[in-house]
């Protein structure tokens, strides 16, 4: 299969296993974002694809070719680093053309490719400047330009936007998405920022402790997280988790916990009724709370003790507690509302998640 394939890849340093057993197939032209907390092995995975880290066991394929032991330059890849990794002694044109010059590409073609990439990235006016004379965003674009002129089969990005400020980051996110459309190349992008993952990815790979937790579209991983880790990692602010127990059966199934009794939604009833262990963790996303009940009645009323209500424009972010357990909620009350206080709030039960308390797997 064309694209990029990792088959039972293992990475260990001595007796320390970083990645126990990882398999992943990435389709041609796909934009895959690997996301996870620090130290989850996402960068190591990317660096193994790049050939910058050796593989302890398993194989890596790029475009049907086994590249497990191939040198980085023989893999037909381009990479953008977090620190940009520009050559400080070369000007922008020199940085962008370095790979082509090493490959002995004719001068005219180099000039043409650099010119085209510079136009695409609006760097034409800066071609004779040194990296130190550029802003962070411009440097990042040069780093991208360096990859673009290569016209590689796979583009690898290692947290390329982490050093930029928030505004520039969102601009560059859009530019990257446009770039992917224009170039139509396979892109593997590593980040710890779930917003970047959600906005750019065709598919998201969520990793924790060297293990892939879930692979799916942004919608999949948000609406149907496979386990508690994915549920807590995707979504901002994070999902609330409350311990509870299943009571009753059939359509009368409820989750009981400290300070709450919530009916299990129809969507969840079949799997929840089948659960062997009645001890569960209830997952509620902060954005699925409301200050007023919705009309179809699929809600649970909950008494929240609000500690702080933070004003964030048209909604308010509540740091509260329910039956003594901390809980956060984002309620859409309009920009003119007074700070919300303790009292009754409503949770949309259609949006509830249930996890097996012991294993953390979704029911």
């Amino acid at each position: 299969m064309p694209g990029v394939g990792l088959n039972n890849v293992v990475k260990a340093y001595g007796s320390t296993v970083i990645i126990p057993d990882l398999s992943l197939d990435i389709r041609e032209s796909e934009f895959v974002v690997i996301v996870g907390p620090s130290g989850c092995g996402k960068s190591t995975t990317l660096r193994m694809v790049a050939g910058l880290e050796s593989v302890s066991a398993g194989t890596i394929h790029i475009r049907d070719r086994d590249v497990t032991y191939a040198a980085p330059k023989a893999r037909d890849i381009a990479m953008v680093f977090q620190s940009y990794a520009l050559y400080p002694h070369m000007d922008v044109a020199g940085n962008m053309s370095f790979a082509l010059r090493l490959a002995g590409t004719p001068r005219a073609e180099i000039d043409q490719r650099v010119k085209r990439a510079a136009e695409m990235l609006e760097l034409t006016d800066y071609l004779d400047r040194k990296p130190k004379d550029l802003s962070g965003g411009q440097r990042q674009r040069v780093a991208m330009g360096r990859s673009i002129v290569r016209d590689a089969y796979v583009f690898l990005f290692d947290e390329p936007l982490s050093n930029l400020d928030a505004k520039l980051r969102s601009t560059m996110r859009t530019e990257l998405a446009i770039l992917h459309k224009k170039l139509d190349r396979t892109m593997i992008y590593v980040t710890h920022d779930q917003i970047e993952a959600m906005t750019m990815a065709d598919r998201i790979v969520i990793m924790d402790q060297g293990i892939i937790q879930q692979v799916g579209s942004p919608r999949d991983v948000y609406t149907a997280p496979k386990n508690r880790f994915v549920a807590g990692f995707i979504g901002s602010p994070s999902m609330n988790f409350l311990d509870g127990e299943l009571h009753g059966s059939g359509s009368k199934l409820e989750v009981h916990g400290q300070g709450f009794k919530i009916p299990v939604s129809k969507r969840m009833q079949i799997t929840a009724n089948a659960a062997k262990d009645r001890r569960v963790t209830l997952g509620m996303r902060p954005e699925h709370f409301a200050a007023t009940a919705n009309k179809d009645g699929k809600y649970a009323a909950l008494n929240l003790d609000v500690d702080v209500a933070e004003y964030i424009g048209s909604s308010q972010f509540l740091a509260a507690s329910l039956g003594g357990q901390p809980i956060t909620a984002t309620v859409d009350v309009g920009p003119d509302a007074e700070p919300m206080g303790s009292g009754q709030y409503f949770f949309d039960t259609n949006r509830m998640y249930l996890f097996d308390r012991a294993s953390g797997e979704a029911l």
Binding site: A50, G51, L52, A71, P72, K73, I77, A78, M79, F81, Q82, S83, Y84, A85, L86, Y87, P88, H89, F98, A99, L102, A103, K130, P131, K132, R139, R146, R150
Partner: protein, 320 residues
């Protein structure tokens, strides 16, 4: 005093500009503080460095011998300088110094950089090799001179002994032959000072950002290309500084040659600094020696400025 300064400081920033002139706010001591702190260093520099330089400039206009009161010394104007420019011995020692500098610095740079590139990677035993290579730097120049004088000795020296045993080479009078003596002092200098280049370069190489080197691997650079197109250009400022320091050292070098050869045979190994020393304390020509010392300062200054202009170490200073 210190308390007063502190309270003045703390009240100052909040006072609006307009109020300052009216209320006659206490003087802002913050402007003076930095000068206060560097004063001791400046004082030492003035007494230990600037004063002797100007004093030797002053002295170069006199004809003065040790033991004679300076008040009796004759002011001879530019006579010392005129004599110097027509003195073939001075020119010969300048030539020896440049030849010595060329060979030592070229070979030391080459060897130091090569060794640093070889021992930069964390290979097994690298730290042991690094320590061994640095050892010559820790030996005092006088001791270095003595060690190598005995090693190069024509009758009892190990060098002749082992050259004879291993290669069947006849004993050479190393320090008695003009060419061989010059080779001996170059060799000794390389032995002592290559580690200096090595340390500086290896520190520079290890400080290079790993991502840039990885980027060059992905860009397709092989080992040689990575060294010549990425690593060395990125540490060029460090190389310039190392070169500059070695250059100044060459013009300072004295002890080793003084002990090994005393400048001989003839003037074959008489570097400019040794020549000045011999003129000052052997021939007792303090004024004339001072004039040559002034020439030495001029040469070093011109060379240093030239290197700094050509390869400004701050030019590529960058946070990339």
């Amino acid at each position: 005093m210190a308390n007063a300064a502190i309270s003045a400081n703390s009240s100052e920033p909040s006072a609006p500009d307009g109020d300052r002139s009216v209320a006659k706010a206490p003087r802002d001591y913050r402007n003076i503080a930095p000068y206060f702190f560097i004063a001791p260093a400046v004082f030492v520099m003035l007494v230990g460095l600037v004063y002797p330089v100007f004093d030797s400039l002053y002295l170069s206009f006199f004809d003065w011998k040790i033991g004679e009161p300076f008040s009796k010394a004759d002011n001879v104007g530019f006579t010392n300088y005129l004599r110097m420019f027509s003195d073939p011995d001075v020119w010969e020692s300048i030539w020896v110094t440049f030849r010595f500098g060329f060979w030592t610095i070229t070979l030391e740079m080459f060897l130091g950089v090569t060794l640093a590139l070889m021992l930069e990677k964390p290979i097994r035993g690298a730290s042991i090799f690094r320590t061994i290579f640095i050892l010559p730097l820790m030996v005092s120049p006088v001791v270095v001179g003595l060690i190598w004088r005995y090693l190069f000795d024509a009758r009892v020296g190990w060098i002749n002994y082992y050259l004879g045993i291993w290669f069947g080479i006849e004993p050479q009078v190393w320090l008695g032959d003009a060419e061989l003596a010059f080779f001996a002092i170059v060799f000794t200098d390389i032995w002592q000072w290559t580690p200096f280049i090595f340390i500086i370069v290896i520190a520079g190489l290890q400080a290079l950002p790993s991502e840039v080197l990885e980027a060059s691997r992905i860009d397709g650079a092989n080992w040689w290309q990575q060294i010549f197109l990425v690593k060395l250009p990125m540490i060029s400022s460090i190389l310039v500084i190392a070169l500059l320091m070695r250059l100044i050292d060459v013009f300072r070098a004295l002890e080793v040659m003084y002990i090994m050869t005393g400048g001989g045979p003839g003037r074959a190994t008489e570097l400019l600094s040794l020549h000045i020393y011999n003129r000052a304390f052997d021939a007792q020509l303090l004024g004339y020696a001072s004039a040559i010392a002034v020439l030495l300062i001029v040469i070093v200054t011109v060379l240093s400025a030239g290197i700094l202009i050509i390869g400004n170490p701050m030019k590529d200073k960058s946070d990339v």
